[in-house]
């Protein structure tokens, strides 16, 4: 259960983090009842301000994906309310293909880069 943020991306890190946690909940990798890491721990691990992580947890709570249980932390709820689809993956694949074309990278090298990325996680 790894989240990966790109500070050069035009998408704000808040939105990147929220979307990735939402996907993990939707896919069932973060099961109902799972505790998300405390805000200060995740903020330290990602090098973000605590307020940013707090904002992400608040947004997830508003969407009904998590609930804040006081000192017991933030608990994952049912993922059926998550607003993610399998098209997210095809969109990402399209982006990768476009980048590979622009860089003049062939299919074999692109597949190798993808395999390496999968092995890193």
């Amino acid at each position: 259960m790894i989240v990966h943020l790109d500070t050069r991306s035009p998408v704000p890190v808040f939105e990147q983090l929220r979307t990735q946690i939402e996907r993990l909940i939707a896919s069932g990798q973060l099961r109902p009842g799972t505790k998300l890491p405390p805000i200060r721990h995740l903020a330290t691990d990602l090098g973000l301000a605590r307020a940013t992580v707090n904002k992400v947890y608040d947004a997830l709570a508003r969407d009904g994906l998590v609930e804040t249980a006081g000192r017991h932390g933030t608990i994952v709820l049912d993922g059926s309310k998550a607003n993610t689809t399998a098209t997210d993956l095809s969109a990402a694949a399209d982006t990768m293909v476009v980048i590979a074309h622009q860089l003049g990278i062939g299919p074999a090298a692109a597949h190798q880069a993808l395999d390496e990325a999968l092995n890193r996680l």
Partner: protein
Amino acid sequence: MTIGAGMGALAALLALGIFLAAVISLTVRGAQVTSRDVAWIAGAPEPSPAEADVYSRYLQRHRTHRVVGGLLGALFAISVGTAWYGSVRIGVGSHSPLADVLFCGLGGVLVGALSAESFRLSEPPSTTVSASLAEHAGASRPDLIWVARGISVASLLGGGLIAATGHGLAPLCIAIGGLIATLVAEATQSAISGRRRPILSSRAQVVDLQMRSFASTSVALLQLASAVLTATWIVSRVPGVDTGPLAPIQVFVEIAGLAITVVLLHRASPRPPRKWIAEPS
């Protein structure tokens, strides 16, 4: 009279010089890390050179900070003892704990451990950052921490009770001193578990967990040692016991408390036990 004062100043300067020489010598010698030390903290007889280097630097940092903290604490106790009482003591007695080399030395070691753990894991400059959503590992010996907390609370209640019955504020002040040491230990545990962790290399994760486990156990033992020593001080200050039938029990508790403190301090040491031998892989 003048000669006596001059001799006294000379003796004080000599003592200070010897103490500083001992501080420097102990700091340098105590921080040296051998391959046996590395094998002990790694839990493996022959870690790779890169991992051994990480363990070695971490252990060296821990030892240096703890030795410096402990010696500064001891220096503080010696200064207070000399200035207030004209003598230096180790262990409970009629003096204040601020003049106790053991109490202040232990406090200094705890502050040193906090300082050693207060570092940030640096990462190569990058525009991307990854983190795991898995929970950080908690304290490796929560049982010791809970016992230490219980003893600290009992000390505080005991000190408060003695103060409330009009037998002086000293025990309460001692309990508050112990509570401060407990808070330092808790802050250190928090720094150990909350620090940024590596996620993309499984070997780095193993090394990181191994170091956190060592530090967490060691600080838990220090916290318990501090709590036991504080409680021993409180017991030694219970009024009206030292002349009654309970006097032998009080003496026994004091001796047992000091012995337990020394044993815990020894076990919290950032070096392998004398008889420890690396198991062949």
